[in-house]
């Protein structure tokens, strides 16, 4: 177990060293959410602080999914992904390592985004510990999502298309810009299936002290379950690739 965790950490460190400064990762992680939020801010300057949780959530989802997807798809294309499969580490260790790289990147992205959000959007900070927990869980969850996605597709293009096909609708239906309470019942049901919904609710509670629909404890539970599910699914996808390359 310790051996697996250590090797997973080495895989994550290698990813950070190799891909940290790749332009797509930086741009999707920081610039895109900021520009997006700025557009909404210009339209509704009075409700600026309401945008704070969504902005942090967006930067995390784009930063972490981009990081894990880009690193895996790039390595798959040039053949170096097979190096970690050849190494004496289980597929659990490989999946965890790939996800952890995204988690560390998520923490770095949020260490830039959170101060910026406080500077421009001025939310009140009700629960700092919950903010840290939300950032950690979200980073793991979305890095896991990117990892899983890049292991089930054939081409790099498919991964990006599929990632955006999930990420973009999620942003509009998970309470980032519109409160969940304002959604019609059908879309509310859809929103409950999106992990971003729980992240935004958790961040909303940590930053503003209120939630739309989901209290913090169930949100943490749902996110933990999502993390476990995506780690398991990524490991299964790796095993499947060994059986049906």
């Amino acid at each position: 177990m310790r051996d697996e965790l250590t090797k997973a950490w080495f895989i994550a460190l290698k990813d950070l060293r190799a891909y940290y400064f790749k332009p797509p990762t930086i741009s999707w992680g920081i610039l895109f959410p900021f520009v997006f939020a700025l557009a909404f801010l210009l339209r509704n300057p009075q409700g600026a602080h309401e945008l704070a949780p969504g902005l942090i959530a967006m930067s995390l989802i784009f930063g972490t999914t981009s990081m894990s997807t880009a690193s895996i798809m790039f390595e798959r294309r040039i053949g170096s992904f097979e190096r970690v499969i050849l190494a004496p580490v289980t597929m659990w260790g490989v999946a965890l390592g790939k996800i952890l790289g995204g988690v560390v990147f998520g923490l770095l992205v949020s260490s830039v985004m959170v101060p910026l959000v406080f500077l421009f959007f001025r939310p009140t900070l009700v629960n700092p510990a919950l903010l840290v927990l939300a950032v950690l869980l979200s980073s793991f969850l979305f890095s896991g999502f990117g990892c899983f996605l890049s292991l089930i597709v054939r081409q790099e293009f498919d991964a990006m298309t599929l990632a955006n096909a999930v990420r973009l609708p999620m942003i509009f239906l998970s309470g980032v810009f519109l409160p969940l309470t304002a959604l019609p019942l059908g879309l509310k049901v859809v929103a409950f299936w999106f992990p971003l919904t729980y992240e935004v609710e958790l961040l909303r509670y940590a930053l503003l002290g209120s939630v739309d629909l989901i209290p913090p404890l169930p949100a943490v539970g749902a996110m933990l379950a999502g993390c476990a599910l995506l780690l398991w699914a990524s490991q299964r996808a790796l095993e499947r690739r060994r059986r049906n390359p």
Partner: protein, 313 residues
């Protein structure tokens, strides 16, 4: 002598295509074992199965006493694998590529630096230590890829087409390196499509085609099996269209037109020479050149497998 690799009925299918078809062989500790065959014969698929990269559809294998199916992690910890492409991390330096290999192969932390520097020096890459992998020449990339596979001192090394795309000088260097490693006690499983390379380096060779092993013997054994049929290289002043008539001679088994001459595989050399001389006289042909030859590795290969040597190039 212990067996480094034992393979029983190993098979790998992709849908209807059987890439490797119930192969059996064993590799002794300390030998250089050649796995020879044309492109698409099943060589790389076999290496990918034996190194744990893909799972076999059927069959069993054990490496260094570890069962491939149930002790995959132990197998991986004791082997080094150099794939047919130099697939290190392009944006990382030579030094960090080695350090990362040491990390995931479980080399103790205190040995990382010393081991990396030792390998960089051995492979003549010490002054390229801080260069990114992507900036290296093809030969250097190959060397560093092999160095990474040796970081944990594996007793068994898989080399998949190690000289593919290298120039003559780099190829010679690679051959020397393979021999050196073998002298140091490393068992080497070498896949190649180059007959001369396998003949030069390997103690034993398995020839694979369409997923099946056709021949498995020592290089000497393969040559002696084939040497029952010596050959004649001959050219006439008029060469066109003589192959069917030469093949009709009783002592001639096979005829290949090669450039400006014919290559004849014959059963009985003195008889064949007499028949050919009579044939030339009868047709009014002048013999331009005539050489009798012991079978080369290539000829032995062609004789035993029926695969044309050109397909291997």
């Amino acid at each position: 002598m212990n067996q480094a690799i034992e393979v029983h009925g190993l098979t790998r299918s992709y849908g209807d295509l059987v890439a490797v078809d119930h192969i059996h062989f064993s590799v002794k500790e300390g030998e250089i074992f050649g796995f020879l065959g044309p492109n698409g014969a099943g060589k790389t698929t076999t290496v990918r199965m034996l190194s744990g990269l893909i799972t076999p559809t059927e069959g069993k294998a054990s490496l260094l006493g570890f069962d491939l199916e149930t002790q995959t992690k132990e197998v991986k910890a004791h082997i080094g694998v150099v794939q047919d492409v130099s697939n290190l991390y392009p944006d990382l330096t030579c030094y960090y590529n080695l350090i990362f290999s040491a990390q995931i192969y479980g080399v103790p932390r205190r040995d990382w630096e010393a081991r990396a520097l030792e390998l960089l020096e051995r492979f003549g890459l010490l002054e390229k230590k801080e260069r990114k992998f992507l900036t290296l020449s093809r030969g250097m990339k190959r060397k560093l890829t092999i160095a990474c596979a040796l970081i944990h001192n594996p007793p068994l090394l898989f080399l998949d087409e190690p000289t593919l795309g290298l120039d003559v000088r780099a190829k010679r260097m690679m051959h020397r390196l393979i021999e050196e490693l073998n002298h140091e006690g490393v068992t080497i499983f070498l896949t190649t499509h180059q007959i001369a390379e396998a003949g030069k380096l390997c103690d034993r060779i398995a020839i694979i085609n369409r997923g099946k092993i056709l021949v498995l013997d020592t290089v000497k054994g393969i040559r002696s099996k084939a040497s029952a049929e010596p050959s004649i290289r001959i050219s006439f002043h008029r060469n066109e269209g003589l192959a069917p008539e030469l093949l009709a001679l009783p002592s001639v088994d096979r005829v290949r037109a090669q450039g400006d001459h014919y290559h004849l595989s014959v059963r009985d050399l003195p008889l064949a020479l007499t028949e050919i001389t009579r044939f030339a006289e009868g047709k009014g042909l002048l013999i331009g050149s005539l050489h009798t030859e012991e079978p080369s590795s290539e000829e032995a290969f062609v004789q035993l497998t029926g695969i044309e040597a050109e397909k291997m190039r």
